[in-house]
Symmetry: C2
Subunit: 257 residues, 2 copies
């Protein structure tokens, strides 16, 4: 199960309640975004979560670490990242919840029979969470191919990701997405007529700052209207301290809702 070719780190999340093996120099390194995304799953949630484009599994593990009645399926196409996830699940530090996790190596954008064959069945999950690549191809290129794969959003990608999500989530099931504010037009267009009761939560670095991320949640098939919740503010007006709410959510003590 070990992967000696890839130098890796073991990072503690949720104040040591779970650990994550990640490539140390290459690929996407998970952090705050994954913790915030996981925070969109309510504390009392019970059921199956699909972490689409899971990377090393940070968001999915954060959900099962906090929600004791949740199971997680980590869906990731990169074999290096699924290897990391597999190694993480084998860590004794993660034994409290690793039995509630599985890994599917698959491309989130696969469709039809290919998707089904990988194990992503229709109407089989209660909640889909996703932190899709968000750099546009025109953004500064990274020389790291593994990182580029995780970070670069290609044309129509959000549409494909949301389409997979709406297929695999049961009617009445939920979706949560963390994205850049600039993606909102594409996201809302992709969600329309698929997920309703949308809630947008802006994530602001400080009270006086523009949002750097948004979290959008929705319910499959709902016809309820869209609402804007108050922003989650990460830091105070000055200084480096996190706000109490940011500390609670990023450490898996409380959910976003």
């Amino acid at each position: 199960m070990s992967h000696p070719d890839i130098p890796h780190t073991i990072d503690a999340f949720h104040r040591g309640r779970f650990h994550l093996i990640q490539p140390s120099a290459r690929g996407h390194r998970s952090g705050i975004d994954a913790m915030l995304l996981a925070g969109a799953v309510p504390d009392d949630f019970s059921g199956a979560v699909a972490d689409l484009g899971a990377g090393a599994g940070a968001a999915g593990l954060a959900v099962v670490s906090r929600c004791s009645r949740a199971t997680a399926t980590l869906i990731e196409r990169s074999p290096i990242m699924t290897d990391c996830a597999r190694l993480s699940l084998a860590l004794p530090e993660n034994s409290a919840f690793s039995g509630r996790c599985e890994i599917i190596q698959a491309d989130v954008t696969s469709t039809g029979k290919a998707r089904m064959a990988s194990g992503l069945l229709d109407n089989s999950f209660d909640f889909a969470i996703m932190n899709p690549p968000f750099n546009e191809a025109k953004d500064r290129a990274t020389p790291d191919a593994l990182k580029a794969e995780a970070h670069v959003m290609t044309e129509g990608m959000l549409e494909k990701w949301v389409k997979t999500a709406v297929s695999i989530v049961k009617p009445g099931g939920s979706i949560a997405i963390i994205a850049r504010p600039a993606s909102i037009q594409d996201l809302l267009a992709a969600l329309q007529r698929r997920f309703g009761g949308l809630i947008i939560v802006p994530i602001q670095p400080r009270p006086q700052d523009a949002a750097i991320r948004i979290i959008i949640t929705g319910v499959k098939g709902s016809r309820a209207g869209l609402t804007f919740h108050p922003a989650l503010v990460m830091h105070h007006e000055t200084g480096n301290e996190f706000t109490e709410r940011a500390i609670s959510i990023t450490n898996g003590i409380a959910s976003l809702f």
Copy 2:
């Protein structure tokens, strides 16, 4: 110029710096929303503002009352409301800026030659502001036809309003819209490929409340991305006092940006 058939009120805005004649019992009564919308025009703005669906003219008058180098064109299809606007402009209390206002009785959704004939020429304004009807037809019906006309949003209406705005605004000119959060999908779809550099400002009753309105601004032809500004919060966590920022903006002391 008087309109004895319609009982009306004269209401002071901006701490008495301008006055507005409105039908007292019928039609849309302007207030906070119009003041917030006007607040989206920067203090140092200079140029021609089109107030689309101006009603009695509250937002347009609020702009010229605060911005000494702005002119306003109040565009409204209801003859009762344009009569009110005309009476307002004739009030001695408004003489400081009434010379910088004109009224066009026209339907905002008119197109092509009909729009041109009413005086709404292509590329002729520097800023379009609009507070479009926002009740869906399925919402609780009002027995007041004049009010219903101002409040009920019909299918495709936002698209038509934004289309008129992008036609009459000069390249590089601006738009500002106040709307319900639930309208954001339709609004963003209408704005796409017409206005860029969009800024969304949620308006929250209190720090802990979901937004009840959003203000969206944009620049014609801009390719800049979308940003979420911090919410404008109207009241404190408890009590009826307005916040300092809400007081400044609604009284025409400061702009929103």
